[in-house]
C-alpha cells in the first residue's frame, strides 16, 4: 500500500509543479510574446512574404544588333517564356547597362550584328546574356530561359539544314537529337520558393521560441529569488525528477498545440507541400518537442539574467538554419560543422520534417532523424536532471 501512496504523491507533486509553471508562463508578458506572438504570428508573416512562390516575367532588356527575322523570332521566344519578359529594347549596350543600373531590368540579352550572317554561312554564332548573381533567383530565371530558347533554336536550325540535304523529318530529328531528355521535379514540383524555405523556418521557429522562452522563465526565476538560484528551495532532493517532469510537461503541452499549428495548419493554409496528417505529425512532433524542451531546459542554466537567452541565443537562428542542410546541401557541409549541427534538435527536425511533410516519407524512412532526436532528448533530459539537482543542492546549502 505504501507503493500507491508514493506514486500518488509523485503525481500530485508533478501536477502542482505543472500548474505552477503554466501560471508563470501566462503571467509573463515577455514569454507570451515569444511563445504565442512569435510562435503564431511569425509563420503567418513569412507565409505572406513568400506567398508568390515563383518569379514570373522578370523584366529584361534586349540589345538586338542583328535585327533580322531570325533574331526577332528569338527575342519573341524569350519573351514568351514564363520566366522572362522583354520589358525594354535598347540600341546599345550602354543604354542597356543604364536600365540595369536603375534596377529596371534584371538581365541583359545581347544579340551581335553578325548573328544571322554567321548562321547563313554555316558558322557558329553566340547569344550573350548577363544577370546579377546578387539575387540568385534572377540569375536562375535568365539562365534557364535563355538557355532553353537557344537550344530549342539550335535543334530547329539543325533539323531544317538536314532536311534541306534530303533527310526525312524523322531522320533529321533523330540525327539532331539522338537521345531525348525529359525532366520531372518529384517534390515541390512547381519550384516554389516558399515550399522550400518555410518548412525549415517553421521548425526553427518552434525550437528557437521554445528555448528563448524557457531561458526567460529561468532567468526570471533567478532574478526573483534571493540567492539567484534556478530552482528556489522548496522540498527535498528526491523532488528533482518531479520538478523536471512537471516543468517539461507544461512546455510540452503548450507546444503540442503550437507545433500542430505550425506543422499542419500553416502548410495547409499557405498551400505548401503537406503530406502530414495529425497522426503522422504527432509521430514526428513528440520526439522533436521532447528534444527541444530538454535542450532548452538544459542550457537555461547558462542564462543568468532573463534577457540573456534572447540576447545571445537569438543570434544563432540564421547559422542554425544553414547548418541544418536544407539549403546548402547536407552532403557538402564541412565535417566539423556537421558534428556541431547534431547538437541541435533543429538539424534533425528540419531534415525529418522536410522528408515527411514535403516528400511524403514515412516515419520509418526517417529513422536516422528520429533516432537523432530521441538520443538528444535522452541526453538533454539527463543533463537537465543533473543541472537541476546541482542547482537544488546549492539552494539547500544557502538556506542552511
Amino acid at each position: 500500500m505504501k507503493h500507491t501512496s508514493f506514486f500518488k504523491t509523485a503525481l500530485t507533486d508533478i501536477a502542482e509543479i505543472f500548474t505552477e509553471e503554466i501560471k508563470h508562463i501566462f503571467k509573463d508578458s515577455g514569454v507570451i510574446i515569444i511563445f504565442f506572438g512569435a510562435g503564431i504570428l511569425y509563420p503567418i508573416l513569412y507565409g505572406f512574404i513568400y506567398r508568390n512562390e515563383v518569379l514570373r516575367d522578370i523584366p529584361i532588356v534586349v540589345v538586338n544588333q542583328s535585327n533580322s527575322a531570325l533574331s526577332r523570332d528569338l527575342v519573341r521566344k524569350i519573351d514568351a517564356t514564363p520566366d522572362l519578359k522583354v520589358a525594354y529594347k535598347a540600341n546599345t549596350m550602354n543604354e542597356a547597362k543604364d536600365l540595369f543600373a536603375k534596377n529596371e531590368a534584371h538581365g541583359i540579352v545581347y544579340i551581335p550584328a553578325s548573328f544571322s550572317k554567321d548562321l547563313c554561312k554555316g558558322k557558329q554564332t553566340h547569344v550573350f546574356a548577363y544577370s546579377n548573381i546578387a539575387t540568385m533567383l534572377y540569375f536562375r530565371g535568365v539562365y534557364s530561359a535563355v538557355n532553353f530558347v537557344c537550344l530549342d533554336f539550335d535543334e530547329k536550325i539543325q533539323v531544317a539544314n538536314l532536311e534541306a540535304k534530303g533527310l526525312t523529318e524523322q531522320q533529321a530529328k533523330a540525327t539532331a537529337t539522338p537521345i531525348l531528355r525529359e525532366g520531372h521535379p518529384l517534390y515541390n514540383s512547381n519550384n516554389g520558393f516558399a515550399s522550400f524555405l518555410l518548412p525549415a523556418a517553421l521548425i526553427l521557429i518552434i525550437q528557437q521560441t521554445l528555448v528563448i522562452g524557457i531561458g526567460m522563465l529561468a532567468g526570471t526565476a533567478r532574478e526573483e529569488n534571493k540567492y539567484h538560484q534556478l530552482i528556489p528551495y522548496q522540498r527535498k532532493y528526491h523532488g528533482t525528477l518531479r520538478i523536471v517532469t512537471g516543468k517539461a510537461l507544461a512546455y510540452f503541452i503548450i507546444y503540442l498545440f503550437i507545433g500542430i499549428y505550425n506543422l499542419v495548419l500553416i502548410p495547409y493554409m499557405f498551400q505548401l507541400p503537406n503530406y502530414f496528417t495529425i497522426g503522422s505529425a504527432l509521430q514526428f512532433l513528440v520526439p522533436f518537442l521532447l528534444a527541444s524542451v530538454f535542450f532548452g531546459m538544459g542550457i537555461s542554466v547558462f542564462f543568468w539574467v532573463r534577457e540573456t537567452s534572447l540576447l545571445i541565443y537569438l543570434c544563432t537562428s540564421i547559422p542554425l538554419l544553414l547548418i541544418s542542410g536544407f539549403s546548402w546541401p547536407a552532403s557538402n557541409i564541412p565535417i566539423f560543422w556537421k558534428m556541431i549541427s547534431y547538437f541541435f534538435p533543429s538539424t534533425f527536425g528540419i531534415q525529418g520534417f522536410l522528408k515527411m511533410n514535403s516528400m511524403g516519407a514515412s516515419i520509418s524512412q526517417i529513422n536516422f532523424e528520429c533516432m537523432g532526436l530521441c538520443i538528444e532528448a535522452g541526453i538533454y533530459f539527463i543533463f537537465t536532471f543533473f543541472v537541476y539537482r546541482w542547482q537544488i543542492r546549492q539552494s539547500e546549502r544557502r538556506i542552511r
Binding site: 547597362k97 557558329q124 540525327t175 531528355r181 543570434c315 546548402w328 516528400m359
Partner: protein, 392 residues
Amino acid sequence: MRIIKSPGWKVVFMRELRRIVSRPIYVLMTIILPLGFLLFYSTFLSEGYPEQLPLGVIDHDNSSLSRNIIRQIDATQQTRVAGKYLHFTDARKDMQQGKIYAFIEIPGNLQKDVYSGHQPTIHYYYNQSFFVAGSLLLRDMEIMLNTISAGVDLQTRQLKGQGVEESMAQILPIVPEIHAIGNPYMNYSVYLSNILLPGMLQLMILMTIVYCIGIELKKSSSKVWLKDAGGSMFQAIVGKLLPYTIIFSCIGFFYEIFLFKFMHFPINSSLWWMILDTFLLVIATEAVAIVMIGIVPVLRDGLCFAGLYGILAFSYSGLVFPIEGMPAILQGLSYLFPLRFFFKIYQNVVLNDISPAFSIINYLIMLLYLLFPIVVWRRLHNALTRLDYPKK
C-alpha cells in the same frame, strides 16, 4: 556625430566605457560573437560551390552506351553517382531520405534505339524540396544529357567524314553564353557572406543598443545617466552610443577587409565604398534601435521587438527572394530596413560597378534613418525621467 563643446557627452562616454568592461555580456555581444560569426561563415561556405552532389542511376539498358553515359556523369566535377538502382521505387525512396538529390532513368534498348534512329528518351528526376541541390542538379543534368546527345550526333557526323568544327556549327549553331556579373564563378560564399555577415552585424547592433539603453530603465539608473549628460538627452544618447559606434564600425570594417582583401571576393570599385556602406549601416541601425526601445521602453519587450525585427531584416534584404516578388503591401515594409539599402548599394556600386551617383537615393535613405529617433524622442525622455514602465 557632431561633437558638442560642453563635456556632457564625454562624461557619458567614459561612464559607458566603464560599464562595457564591467560585464562580460558586452564583450560577448560586441566582439566575441561578431568574430565568431565571421569564423562560421568563412569556414562553413569555404567550398564556395557545392560539388560532387550525389545522384542515382537506374540503368535498364546495361549496354556499352549506357555504361559510358554513367561514367561520363560520374566524371564531372558537379556530380557523383552515389547509387545504382534496379527500380524506380528504390531510387525514389533514397531521394525521400535525402541520400540522393536526383536520379536518371535510362530506358531499355537505349543503344539499339539510338543507332536505329528511334530517339529514346532519358528521364531524369530531381528534388526541388532541396532547392539549391535540386536546381544545381537540374542544370547539370540538362547540360550533361544535352552534351551526351550532341556527342552521339557528332560521332555520326564524323563517321560520315565531317570535321569537328563544321559539325559543331551544325549541332550548336547558336551558343548561349550566360554570365553572372560580379561573381563569374557562382561562388555561394561570395553570394551569401556579403549580406549574411552585415545582417548578423545589424542584429548584434540592435540587440546591444536596445540592451544598453533598456538596462538603464530596468536598473533605474537612467536619471544618473541623464544627469551625467548635463540633462541633455541628445548628449546622453551621443555619449552612450559612441563607444558602440566605434566598436561595431571596426568590426564591420574588419569584415569587409577580411572578405575582400583576405578572401579575395570580387570587388569592382574601391574598398572605401564598401567601408562607407558599412558605416552607414552601423549608424542607421543604431538609430532604428533607439526607435525600438523608444516605442517599448521595457528592456525585455524591447529586446523581443528588436530581435523579431532583426531576423526579419534578412528576408527584407532581398538576398534570397527579391522584394519585387513579394505581395505589394509587404513590399512597402522594406523601407523600414537599413539592411535593404545596404544591400542595394553593395549590389550596384561594388558588385556591378555602377557609378555611385545612381545610388544617391539609397544613400539619402540611409541618412534619413538618423532622423527616425525624433519620433520617439519625447516618449523615451519621459520614460527615462519618470521610470514609469514595468521593469521585469
